[in-house]
């Protein structure tokens, strides 16, 4: 097991290097650069733009060099923990993304827990009581949850929040805590705001997981080993938990790898709508404004998250299923 983890960790290194090159190339492939975007913005605002000034900006930011040189400058910094400098924000990237990444992670993990705690019991219920009224009800709700886009749900919830409850549902903090340092009060404030985006973000995920769990479990319920266990005289509940659910969890665990990054990147639109201080909106702005180091840092972190998530799910899978562990 130890050897397996070490080998997988070693394999991650070249992969992430390749990803970083690809990411940087993709950012550079779009026509123009940060300076030309900046110039266009100035021109749109009616200001005259001096070509000489733009050239000097390019020289200052190193944008006049080849992309390979720029990549090397960036990646050699990343190796020692310096993610570069954001042109848009005039700040080091690491100070910009630090808290946002942490909040994103909190939001993602909460959403994941919400999704699982809703989807697992309902999925199990739907499979065991197949074609019952409850199953049809949850199937209907599930399809509605899948079909309604998250941002629409966010807008509706915001409208309801404002018009019925007279409370502002946007953001993750009340105004007095928005820029305050971390304290217990701030944590409590976060928790009281968190549930709305968690529900909005988790709905479609929970809906699809209900369907997956239902299908997985239906496959397992008719397996001969379930009959064997039933013929031993186990109660239906013990039977269910000990055999089919345990095995139906395997596909759940193996999807963990891509659920993590999906929650981060899938949340962009909803974060914009709900005005959440998470990574999504910042990434969007950075990409639009060709703020290359900021965008690169985000994408690199997302990919690392995917790779780590896959590793975690592989390890969990090996722990859950002796067939993978032993044979």
């Amino acid at each position: 097991m130890g050897r397996f983890i070490v080998r997988r960790l070693a394999g991650m290194v070249p992969f992430i290097i390749l990803v970083s090159i690809t990411v940087f190339m993709l950012i550079k492939l779009t026509p123009g650069d940060f300076v030309s975007n900046y110039a266009a913005a100035l021109a749109a605002a009616g200001e005259t733009v001096d070509d000489a000034m733009l050239d000097s900006m390019r020289a200052r930011y190193g944008l006049d060099q080849s992309w390979l040189v720029q990549y090397w400058d960036w990646i050699s910094g990343v190796m020692v923990g310096d993610f570069g400098y954001s042109f848009q924000w005039q700040q080091p990237v690491s100070s910009l993304i630090g808290e946002r990444m942490a909040l994103t992670l909190i939001l993602s993990v909460s959403t994941l827990l919400f999704t699982w705690s809703v989807a697992l019991p309902i999925g199990v219920y739907s499979a065991v009581r197949r074609y019952s009224i409850g199953d049809y009800f949850f199937t209907f709700v599930g399809f509605v949850g899948l079909a309604v886009p998250g941002f629409l749900l966010a807008l509706v919830l915001m409208y309801v929040g404002v018009s019925v409850f007279h409370s502002d549902v946007g953001g993750l903090f009340s105004s007095q805590y928005a820029d305050a340092p971390w304290s217990w009060g701030r944590v409590a404030d976060l928790a009281s705001h968190l549930w709305i985006p968690v529900i909005i973000l988790g709905t479609s995920g929970a809906a699809s997981l209900i369907r997956i769990m239902r299908a997985n479990l239906l496959d397992q319920l008719n397996q001969p080993y379930v009959d064997t266990a039933r013929a031993k005289g186990l109660s239906e509940f013990t039977l269910l938990v000990r055999y089919p659910i345990r095995i139906a969890l395997n596909p759940f665990v193996s999807t963990l790898g891509w659920i993590l990054p999906n929650l981060v990147s899938g949340a962009v639109i909803i974060s914009v709508v709900l005005n959440l201080p998470t990574a999504g909106p910042l990434l969007l702005q950075a990409l639009l404004g060709q703020d290359q180091y900021l965008a690169g840092a985000f994408l690199l972190l997302l990919c690392s998250l995917t790779v780590v998530g896959t590793l975690v799910s592989d390890i969990l899978l090996a722990l859950l299923d002796p067939r993978i562990r032993v044979s």
């Binding site: 064997t228 266990a229 039933r230 013929a231 005289g233 095995i247 562990r325 044979s327």
Partner: protein, 571 residues
């Protein structure tokens, strides 16, 4: 061996008695009468065999007794009376399947062994735990005692090193060992009745013989009543005291085993017995003399070695020799049988011959229809194409071998179409010719495979194999998935087509009866090697090698007068 009481003469109550049991499956607005008015009684120490072909309702009868029939099946009428030796009678049919009263009977009083040892054990729980589980569920003992009991049971079912085996997972066991573990599991709580639902069908003959012997020994040691479900008349003859013949959910005949084999009454029973004896070891083979044609396939020193594998966890595995140094000739018009247990390499050998797998060593020299020769072992993909027109394969499972989304006509025409041999009107004519050859009306070409029964599907598969007008057919367990009455029909069909189409066969099977009926020569495989090869008569009547002798001795003979070894006869 203690003399077990003679149950038929005992005035005691039967331990299990069924009266007019009916289990129905409502499907749409029809009702499928899976079990229809079945009655029988079973005494302690007795073995009752229920025999019938697939769909006869024998398994559903067994499942009804434990109330584990899957939905939408339901017991609609009848009584299932269970009488423990020291207790009063319970009517199981009256119990709610989900209650504690019903659960108390399952596993503790009446235990069941299922057919598929591969899938009937949970893949993710240790064998020992699965044995202990029943003991713990019925609160018969604590964990420590249950573990000791599990080890003891594994020893009783003759699993080597029970102390280690108890902590193994089922996938680390062979099929026979899994079935032994399954038996240990069923016996854990000392049940009064053991229901065995085709417990040996998925096993080799030698393993089957061992398992039957084991069940018999344990039955005598514990005074068990055994309800044994099988489709194999040979097994019935070997173990039954009384027999129930079922068809379409109804009992068509019941008799003591000797009577049933000596004087069967119902026409269906007679047909079953005929089919069993025709493919039995005492029956005459179908073909009289082996033709002496020229050799069309020369196999020299064929070897397939899987290289040593490093594992993700734990130690590396040594290289495995799936096929080792196999040499033989196949003559034109000849039927060669390859027989062996599972894992003997017979299927791998077949795959090497048709080059689905690439052998690591040796030559497979095939003489084409035009007289030129090709070494199959070294040909590349385009080079194989013309050979594959002359050499076709038939697979075991007719349900899996046909694409459910293609019509029968498309399935059969495909090999002609992809080889650009025929198209359009000519293709349609050829397809209806082929359907006629295998005894199906030409208008079935437009229908989909799901509309056909297993036997009909196997005919379709044969028509597909015949489509490009082949000379050699490799049939891998081509009749194993079929009921016994169908088996002979399919074999006879192949034999009938053989002279007409100038075919040669390599017939791979674990079923010695089928091989003997169909083949001129037999090659016996064991651990990747051919241990003995010769004319079918010689191999079956005068086997030279100890392995062949063991294999032949393990075939259950469909004659209750010739039981396999000293058994306390009840009648």
């Amino acid at each position: 061996m203690a003399c077990v009481m003679r149950p038929i003469l005992m005035p005691t109550k039967p331990v299990l008695e069924l009266r007019g049991l009916s289990t129905h499956f409502p499907i749409g607005n029809r009702v499928l009468k899976a079990v229809d008015d079945v009655s029988f009684s079973l005494h302690a120490g007795e073995t009752l065999c229920i025999v019938g072909e697939s769909g006869s309702g024998k398994s559903i009868t067994a499942r009804s007794i434990l109330q584990i029939v899957g939905p939408p099946g339901r017991i609609v009428a009848g009584e299932i009376l269970f009488t423990p030796p020291d207790g009063h009678t319970v009517d199981i049919a009256k119990l709610n399947p989900r209650t504690a009263d019903m659960r108390a009977i399952r596993g503790r009083d009446i235990a069941m062994i299922f057919q598929e040892p591969m899938t009937s054990l949970s893949p993710i729980h240790r064998v020992g735990w699965q044995i202990m589980e029943g003991l713990l569920a019925h609160k018969l003992m604590d964990r420590k005692a249950a573990r000791a009991r599990a080890i003891d049971l594994l020893r009783q079912v003759e699993i080597p090193n029970p102390e280690q085996a108890v902590d193994r997972y089922p996938f680390e066991f062979s099929g026979g060992m899994r079935q032994r573990a399954m038996i240990a599991m069923a016996l854990a709580c000392n049940p009064k009745v053991l229901i065995a639902d085709e417990p040996t069908t998925a096993l080799d003959v030698t393993t089957q013989a061992e398992i039957l012997r084991l069940i018999r020994r344990l039955q005598q040691a514990h005074g068990l009543a055994v309800l044994f479900i099988t489709h194999d008349m040979g097994v019935v003859a070997q173990i039954a005291d009384n027999v129930l013949v079922m068809r379409n959910g109804e009992v068509v005949e019941r008799a003591r085993v000797q009577e049933l084999f000596r004087a069967p009454k119902h026409p269906y029973t007679i047909r079953l017995l005929e089919a069993a004896t025709a493919l039995g070891m005492a029956a005459p083979p179908a073909r009289k003399a082996a033709p002496q044609g020229t050799a069309i396939l020369k196999i020299r020193d064929l070897t397939l070695t899987y290289p040593a594998q490093s594992r993700l966890f734990g130690k590396a595995q040594p290289p495995t020799h799936a096929v080792r140094g196999v040499s033989f000739d196949l003559h034109e018009g000849e039927n060669l049988g390859i027989v062996g247990e599972s894992g003997s390499g017979k299927t791998t050998l077949g795959s090497c011959l048709i080059r689905v797998l690439k052998p690591s060593n040796g030559q497979v020299t095939y003489t084409m229809r035009d007289g030129s020769t090709r070494d199959m072992a070294s040909l590349d993909r385009p080079g194989l194409k013309p050979v594959h027109r002359e050499m076709r394969m038939i697979f075991q499972d007719p349900f899996a071998a046909l694409n459910p989304r293609m019509t029968v006509g498309q399935c059969i025409g495909e090999p002609l179409l992809v080889n650009r041999l025929l198209q359009g009107e000519e293709l349609a004519v050829r397809i209806s010719d082929l359907l006629g050859m295998v005894g199906l009306p030409p208008d079935v070409a437009g229908r989909y495979p799901h509309a056909f029964s297993g036997g009909q599907r196997q005919r379709i598969v044969i028509a597909r194999a015949l489509a490009p007008n082949p000379r050699l057919i490799i049939a891998d367990e081509a009749t194993s998935a079929l009921d016994v009455t169908l088996r002979r029909q399919i074999l006879d069909l192949l034999l009938e087509l053989q002279p007409e189409l100038g075919l040669s066969f390599i017939f791979i099977s674990h079923d010695l009866g089928v091989i003997r009926y169909f083949c001129d020569r037999i090659a016996v495989m064991h651990r990747g090697e051919i241990v003995e090869i010769g004319p079918a008569d010689d191999i079956c009547a005068r086997p030279q090698m100890p392995y062949t002798q063991k294999l032949l001795a393990a075939v259950p003979e469909a004659n209750p007068a010739h039981r396999d070894e000293g058994r306390t006869f009840f009648l």
